[in-house]
């Protein structure tokens, strides 16, 4: 990881690899196709793998043989065991005309070269994929610091830089068509260390090796941002200390108006840092707090300080107390139901960082250097530990889901009995007849619910609309909220009336609300509805599927009697006599709102 590697010299990295017992670690098979000499990157690649817990074997293809090797033949280079293929197609070798002689080309010649390079990329990507399913990492073309056309290059969209951008776009788009293939923007590594530190012109001429040691380190860093998530080794949770990390000063001593946080120096350094944390939150990273403080003091900052960019809603879990931080990190991992090895912990105290490193070596513990708050944002942005291969819409909501789960769980550990726990959730159940707003979600529930579903009948929106309009049907939904947030529509019941009987056509609940007695309240209200419509009997059915075994005994458990028990192994039918009191409702709901 970049944060640790900064201090390691090239010789020391090789020394550590010479000494380490790598044989016990799982293997990581990396293959390098290239048209430059890039062997000196090997220690960096192997060292990154070593920090990740892997023993990397790096196989280099022959110099300038990318096309031939992608076409096949050498199964030692590309095979089923290959985890990742790194492609370095350097423009100076690939097309000396585009790279070094651009001014001399006429538009037709440029177009011909562009086509040739695109055909090359197409054939190489297709050829690699035919030989391995491993991750393809194509390290793209760098843009020149001194384009062949000079300042004119930036004025036109046919210049050297524009052409290189178009080639990169083509390769990126082509890779997107493949599963498990990514484009690595080499310009990021180039920008970070600057062209003056990136190219070694001596070794370019001596041995076709264009990159400096610093460039190789930066390129390996960038490539491993992709390889870590490939192996599930990316970090998922950021745990933050508060005093002198999120703000300057100590809230317990300096008070709300005394801490350093704001739009201008020096508080602006902390604001910028918080903004970067919020960026991670929106990428699906879980944010948690681990701080030695009086808990109300910390929440007062979150609620009342006008310059807090990080808000309470971003925090999925918190341990704010005087216990040791290793114990608190263990507690957070358990609250959030994630592994310690997916956590990154930031603190300005060397004592805390060392404690965590010693007690919990699987946590990435990073010291935020005292007196260098201006560097905090950059440190976090550069650490590269949180990268995932994609960012989805769902990732953006992950923090809220974990927050609700962690809150319920931490309440559960405090509660002495389940009923007390349910009561403390302050659940509000809404049971209503379907309307035009709820129909889409109800149809979706019949399509997607597999486990708590008595009949597993799948319906479209039009079907549900038909039932709603039909006088002999009732479509009832259940909506659940608790003190940690709303779950939305989580239950559906469809009743069909035939003379004096009500047949429960559909009865289902979403898995995430099971175990809270919601099903009892829902069934009881449905039975009351049937009775209210003048029915004497309710008929329940159980249609077994591969997934709904957990509800096989649902009706008998709630006072129904089976018709012809044991007669058929599959479809079972149950009756409930509506002269009887329809089962009791749990008393621990805060409120049941119903218009039935």
């Amino acid at each position: 990881m970049a944060v640790n590697m900064g201090k390691e010299t090239y010789a020391h990295i090789q020394e550590q690899l010479n000494r380490a017992d790598l044989s016990a670690m799982p293997g990581l098979s990396l293959s390098v196709l290239r048209n430059i000499m890039i062997e000196p990157i090997e220690p960096y690649l192997r060292y990154h793998a070593y920090l990740m817990g892997y023993n990397a074997r790096v196989s280099f293809g022959e110099y300038d043989n990318i096309f031939q090797e992608a076409a096949g033949g050498d199964d030692r280079l590309l095979n089923r065991q290959t985890d990742c293929v790194l492609v370095f197609a350097y423009l100076d070798t690939l097309s000396p005309d585009l790279a070094r002689g651009f001014s001399a080309l006429n538009p037709d010649q440029v177009a011909a070269e562009v086509n040739r390079v695109q055909d090359f990329a197409e054939a190489v990507i297709r050829g690699i994929r035919a030989q391995t399913k491993g991750l393809i990492l194509w390290n793209g073309l760098e843009t020149p610091g001194h384009p062949n056309l000079g300042i004119w290059d930036s004025q036109i969209d046919t210049g050297q830089t524009a052409v290189i951008h178009r080639l990169n776009d083509f390769i990126r788009d082509r890779l997107r068509l493949e599963a498990n293939a990514c484009f690595v923007d080499m310009n990021l590594a180039l920008i970070r260390i600057g062209a003056g530190n990136f190219y070694d012109r001596r070794y370019w001429h001596i041995g076709r090796a264009p990159y400096t040691r610093e460039a190789l380190a930066e390129i390996a860093d960038e490539d491993f941002k992709f390889i870590r998530p490939l192996k599930g080794k990316n970090k998922k949770c950021l745990v933050l200390d508060c005093d002198n990390t999120l703000w300057g000063g100590i809230i317990g001593e300096d008070g709300l108006s005394g801490i350093v946080l704001g739009k201008t120096y020096p508080g602006s350094a902390y604001s910028e840092f918080q903004r970067e944390i919020v960026n991670l939150y929106h990428r699906g990273i879980i944010i948690a707090l681990c701080s030695k403080n009086n808990e109300p003091d910390v929440w007062e900052v979150f609620r009342k300080h006008p310059d807090m960019i990080l808000k309470e809603e971003h925090i999925s879990a918190a341990r704010i107390n005087w216990n040791d931080k290793a114990a608190n990190l263990r507690g957070l991992a358990s609250d959030l139901n994630i592994g310690l090895d997916s956590m990154v912990f930031l603190d300005d105290s060397e004592f805390e960082i060392n404690l965590v490193k010693k007690e919990l070596p699987e946590v990435a513990a990073i010291l935020m250097p005292k007196g260098k708050a201006v560097e905090y944002r950059q440190m976090l942005a550069a650490c590269g530990l949180f990268d995932t291969l994609t960012i989805s819409e769902e990732d953006k909501h992950r923090g809220a889901m974990y927050k609700a789960e962690a809150s319920r769980k931490s309440l559960l550990t405090q509660a002495t009995d389940m009923e007390g726990y349910y009561r403390s959730l302050e659940m509000v159940v809404v049971i209503r007849l379907a309307d035009e707003f709820s129909i889409p979600r109800i149809a979706q529930q019949t399509q997607k619910t597999n486990q708590f579903n008595l009949t597993t009948r799948r319906y479209t929106e039009a079907d549900i609309q038909g039932f709603v309009n039909h006088p002999d049907y009732d479509v009832i939904y259940l909506d659940l909220k608790d003190r940690f947030g709303g779950s939305g529509i989580v239950g559906t019941c469809i009743l069909k009336y035939e003379q004096d009987r009500a047949i429960i056509d559909t009865f289902l609940l979403s898995c995430r609300v099971l175990g809270r007695g919601v099903e009892e309240a829902f069934l009881s209200r449905a039975l009351k509805r049937a009775k209210g419509r003048g029915c004497r009997t309710t008929v329940g059915e159980y249609l077994p599927t591969a997934k709904n075994g957990q509800v096989a005994e649902f009706y008998p458990k709630h006072g129904f009697t089976e018709v012809n028990p044991g007669k058929s192994a599959g479809h079972r039918v149950f009756h409930f006599d509506l002269q009887m009191e329809p089962g009791s409702e749990p008393a621990y709901f805060k409120e049941i709102i119903s218009d039935l």
Partner: protein, 76 residues
């Protein structure tokens, strides 16, 4: 300074330092090939904060020559 050079050579070529002396070269150390020579140059430049001239890179194929080349930069 000689010891620092020997240590780097030992680490990069993965050879015990006791087996190295000023006469060690690609002829006497099996792992010292042209690729490892590149790693060696990169490690030495980092260790001493120097940049060899391009013609030096291809000439210093003996520990004794490396030490002299490093001296040239560190003496000034």
């Amino acid at each position: 300074m000689k010891d620092r050079v020997l240590k780097i050579v030992s680490q990069v070529l993965n050879v015990p330092v006791e087996l190295l002396n000023e006469e060690s070269s690609p002829d006497t150390v099996a792992s010292w090939d042209s690729l490892k020579h590149m790693n060696l140059i990169l490690a030495l430049e980092e260790e001493f904060g120097i940049q060899f001239r391009d013609e030096q890179i291809v000439e210093i194929l003996k520990v004794g020559l490396i030490i002299e080349a490093v001296k040239e930069f560190t003496a000034a």
